[in-house]
């Protein structure tokens, strides 16, 4: 563990930006074992590891990194599995720079240990080698838990409770499990095969998954109890697309990011006509918003053959909510950023098809309630961006489908479910909730953190009755 090593963080090999901007294959290629060992050897093995405090599910980070440094990859993945059932996913999509890596001591003077890359390495190594046994289950308790939604929080709850000996059935409204991991995050950032593999691990441990069941319609929460479930966890995500409510929004050529990404990812429309679901191909594409979903949409449009893809955002680059790595990737791939700009109306031709967006320039004023500087319209600054496809990625609200069919479930102002942040308990007996339907749109790992706390609380309830 020389000082020189500590300074040089192993760079992640990536596909060349010019090549990858036109294919759907994964952007980062992954560490080789040599690179992983070299990177793991940079870890200082802190006595009081701050990285762990930054991890919403509390992975024993120094311990698994030590195993990698020693070349014991099977022990490394075993260590991660103790706290995280989706390491191949988290190693790819967690905002590590703001969590574990953001706390790393090495980051104060140089580059933090590449914890995310190492987690990904361990998980990918295991998938390729199948060297580890699944974690063992405790004796069956005879208790049944229904998990509604198979996204990151639902999968975490299911993974934890199945190990504790409970019977778990996951209900998914779509025809494939994974939630946002399969419909929202593109193949080039998270290959679907990886989600399928992590889900099948869960099934191998005994979790049942029933797709095509829309809880709130096919079954209500109360009916799940009538069918013999002892507890219900609601991890249904936010999932109601927001629109800007400006003129022309229902024109052909204006899509929500949810629709665009679901077509591209879940329905694999990028393979059309080999598959049956079509997707619009824009020549000039505008994406409204600057979060991760906006970056995913814009990079997808690029890969579908757009000549120009512009991100339109009303604040400046500093306020963009997307992960810095994603913004960086997007820039490398040639995306255009139209910052300090706000759309005011869509323009269409005589057939009602989109031909452009009228925007105004903005400047930043005093900070608003979000702490970010409030964008203010510059008078007389109207301009038009020509485009034939616009993707609205300005966030999402709470989908009321389930909550409306569960009248005794207390909700907050915007329709999100009220749940205790420490336990996930809702105001309805034996019902827990977590993830985006409680917090509003957030990250995969925060949803998993909520799932972990809820699983602990559900286990206590099933064991002791509280």
């Amino acid at each position: 563990m020389g000082a020189a090593n500590q300074k040089s963080r192993q760079a992640m090999p990536e596909q060349d930006p010019h090549v990858r901007a036109r294919n759907f294959e994964e952007v980062p290629l992954g560490y080789t074992p040599e690179m992983a060992i070299a990177e793991a050897s940079r870890c200082l093995q802190c006595k009081n590891p701050l990285c762990v405090q930054g991890c919403p599910v509390g992975v024993a980070i120094p311990a698994f990194i030590k195993h990698i440094a020693d070349g014991k990859f099977d022990l490394a993945i075993g260590k991660i599995w103790e706290r995280n059932s989706l390491p191949a996913v988290c190693g790819r999509v967690c905002p590590q720079e703001a969590q574990c890596e953001g706390n790393c001591i090495l980051g104060r003077k140089g580059a933090a240990v590449a914890i995310g890359n190492l987690e990904r390495f361990a998980a990918d190594w295991e998938r390729a080698n199948h060297a580890c046994e699944l974690p063992s289950r405790e004796k069956a308790t005879g208790k049944k838990v229904a998990v509604v939604g198979s996204g990151p929080s639902g999968l975490t709850v299911a993974g934890d409770l199945i190990l504790k000996g409970h019977e778990v059935t996951i209900f998914e409204a779509f025809h494939k499990p994974g939630g946002v991991l399969v419909y929202g995050i593109p193949e080039f950032r998270l290959p679907k095969e990886i989600v399928a593999s992590e889900v099948s691990c869960l099934q191998a441990q005994g979790a049942k998954i029933e797709c095509d069941v829309v809880v709130g319609r096919t079954e209500t929460v109360d009916e799940l109890f009538e069918q013999g479930f002892d507890a219900v966890y609601l991890g249904v995500g936010a999932g109601l697309p927001r629109f800007m409510n400006i003129p022309g929004e229902n024109m052909v050529g204006v899509l929500s990011a949810n629709e665009y990404l679901t077509r591209a990812n879940l329905m694999k429309a990028y393979l059309f006509p080999q598959v049956d679901t079509p997707i619009p191909h824009g020549r000039n594409v505008v994406v409204l918003g600057a979060g991760n979903v906006a970056m995913d949409s814009a990079r997808t449009a690029m890969r579908l053959g757009a000549e120009k893809v512009s991100i339109v955002y009303r604040r400046s680059r500093d306020e963009m909510p997307a992960r810095s790595a994603e913004i960086h990737h997007a820039e490398e791939e040639g995306l255009h950023f139209e910052l300090l700009s706000n759309p005011v109306r869509y323009l269409g031709d005589e057939k009602g098809r989109l031909i452009g967006i009228e925007c105004v320039r903005m400047e930043l004023g005093e900070p608003d309630s979000s702490g970010r500087r409030r964008p203010v319209v510059v008078p007389g600054s109207e301009f038009v961006i020509e485009c034939d496809l616009a993707i609205v990625a300005i966030g999402s609200g709470a989908n009321p489908l389930l909550t409306r069919s569960t009248p005794d479930l207390p909700l907050g102002k915007s329709g999100y479910i009220i749940a205790n942040p420490e336990t996930g308990k809702t105001g309805k007996k034996a019902v827990w909730a977590g993830g985006d339907i409680v917090t509003g749109a957030a990250t995969v790992i925060l949803a998993m953190g909520a799932g972990r706390k809820a699983a602990d609380s559900i286990h206590e309830y099933l064991t002791w009755g509280w």
Binding site: A173, F174, H175, C211, D212, V213, V214, R217, T218, E219, G239, L240, P241, F243, N245, E249, N250, M251, V252, G253, L255, S256, N258, E259, T262, R263, M267, K268, F272, P273, Q274, V275, D276, T277, P278, P280, K351, G352, R353, N399, P400, L401
Partner: protein
């Protein structure tokens, strides 16, 4: 898997009926609600309003016209074959109020959706007059069932090969002129629903239409099924499928339904070339 236990061809094979095993959905479904069907792994998710449900048998029935690759694939499924996915029941059930004088207007395969609503209204004590139409006699479906579900049945064909020659709107106008109509329900091709709604608006008779916008998930998540109703954006899947015909922006709906026309032609063409169909 969702097994087909009955398959029937209507209208000279251009319209197909499938009775499908879907016990959970059969128990829950109410008239006016729809399901989303997907034939196989690479298939599209296609919404169809249910024509019938049998909770005791655990089956639902859909009736669809073969118009493109996906419905062609559906039509290739035989008794004993299965749809890979059937999701539902989705959407709001029809609001049925008894004791009214109702005119039910159906066109093409819309009659399949109209039938359980007409029957439900008759059972609820409404006086039901129905007008069903098609381009010609061979394309007219469910005549016998509609006769049972209605107190009075009028039939129109564009070419006069059965019933009266002309459009459903002509018969409707006569009924409206006679007066005493409390409500109109119109389900069929979008232009038909548009013209029925324009007509009933003249007479100030409330009119309900059932829309079929393009959608993916059917649970309010994709927003693809946006329709403008009374100047407001509504989602066909969760706010609908039924809306006040006097408030729907039909022209916008027609444009939105054509969003993928070119790609659908390509898909149909490619699969025929590859000999898949």
């Amino acid at each position: 898997m969702f097994r087909i236990i009955k398959r029937e061809e209507m209208a000279g094979g251009t319209v197909v009926l499938n009775e499908i095993e879907a016990p959970r959905i059969a128990v829950k479904a109410r008239p006016g609600q729809f399901v989303i069907l997907k034939a196989n792994e690479d298939g599209e998710r296609i919404p169809l309003t249910m024509a019938e449900t049998d909770p005791a048998k655990g089956t639902i029935t859909v009736i669809y016209m073969v118009v493109g690759k996906s419905t062609e694939l559906f039509s290739r499924l035989q008794v004993g074959d299965s749809y890979q996915d059937v999701i539902g029941p989705l959407g709001q059930p029809t609001h049925i109020e008894g004791g009214k004088n109702v005119v039910c207007v159906g066109g093409g395969t819309g009659v399949a959706v109209l039938h359980p609503i007409a029957r439900g209204m008759k059972e609820a004590g409404c006086r039901v007059t129905s007008i069903i139409g098609a381009r010609n006699k061979d394309l007219l479906i469910l005549e016998d069932k509609m006769r049972l579900a209605s107190h009075d049945l009028h039939i129109c064909t564009d070419d006069g090969s059965h019933g009266r020659k002309g459009f459903v709107t002509e018969v409707l106008r006569e009924l409206l002129e006679k007066g005493g109509v409390d409500q109109v329900v119109a389900i069929g091709p979008v232009p038909m629903m548009k013209f029925v709604s324009l007509l009933t608006k003249e007479f100030g008779v409330p009119t309900m239409v059932s829309l079929n916008p393009i959608m993916i998930d059917g649970t309010g998540m994709c927003g693809g099924c946006r329709v403008t109703v009374g100047g407001e954006t509504k989602f066909g899947c969760v706010d609908g499928p039924e809306f006040d015909g006097h408030k729907v922006d039909f022209d916008e709906l027609i444009l939105r339904l054509q969003a993928y026309t070119e790609q659908e032609k390509l898909s149909y063409h490619v699969c025929k070339c590859k000999g898949e169909l």
